[in-house]
């Protein structure tokens, strides 16, 4: 099945810094999503982005499907951005496969 690798596994930032999270996948995809799991465990949808670029406030994402990777950009980070960021993909099996996540800590 498809493999999903996220990097870095851990990231510590000072408030106000920018960051880039990466998701590599091993096969072509027809679904790619980014999620934020907050400290209370809730999974929050950030982007549905099987290809192209999207922006939502301080967050943006780019998926280059032909090169099998996606990037999540967080600008001017805030303490509320802390948590785990997951990338999940579907390669046609009609079910999402998750990476192991990037744990982000934003210090005040």
């Amino acid at each position: 099945g498809i493999q999903v690798e996220q990097s870095p596994p851990d990231l510590i930032l000072q408030e106000g810094a920018n960051s880039t999270l990466r998701c590599n996948f091993s096969d072509s995809v027809n679904n790619l999503q980014w999620f934020h799991q907050n400290p209370w465990g809730q999974l929050i949808n950030l982007f549905y982005i099987p290809s192209g670029t999207k922006q939502n406030g301080r967050l943006s994402a780019t998926t280059v499907a032909t090169e099998r990777y996606s990037l999540l950009y967080i600008s001017s980070s805030q303490t509320t951005d802390s948590g785990v960021y997951f990338c999940a993909v579907d390669s046609g099996s009609e079910k999402l496969v998750f990476g192991k996540g990037t744990k982000l800590t934003v210090n005040p």
Partner: protein, 112 residues
């Protein structure tokens, strides 16, 4: 809010007892999924459903069964709970398999 309710939200049970978790949706979506989340593993698929009475296994299906008798409800049953099934369980829904999926708030299950 994606209209997904998981129940119970927390449960402690003893080894060997049966446990049923419920996922209820108000969106009339065709696809429903059960995942488990464990440290170091991310989320892994247990079972999924693509319609009433249509279900299939996921990556970690051993020890679990599911049923879907109505569009809105997807039940996950642990026939005889074991300590290795201590986990956080998430339900998800989507219109089609390749469309955006939305997750419930999770059920924390502890097997002692």
């Amino acid at each position: 809010d994606a209209g997904i309710t998981q129940s119970p939200r927390h449960k402690v049970t003893e080894t060997g007892t049966p446990v049923t978790l419920r996922c209820h949706q108000t969106e009339n979506h065709r696809y429903m999924y059960w995942y488990r989340q464990d440290p170091g593993h991310g989320l892994r698929l247990i079972h999924y459903s693509y319609g009433v009475k249509d279900t299939d296994k996921g990556e970690v299906s051993d020890g679990y069964s599911v049923s879907r008798s109505k569009t809105e409800d997807f039940l996950l049953t642990l026939e005889s709970a074991t300590s290795s099934q201590t986990s956080v369980y998430f339900c998800a829904i989507s219109i089609q398999g390749y469309t955006e999926a939305f997750f419930g708030q999770g059920t924390r299950l502890t097997v002692v």
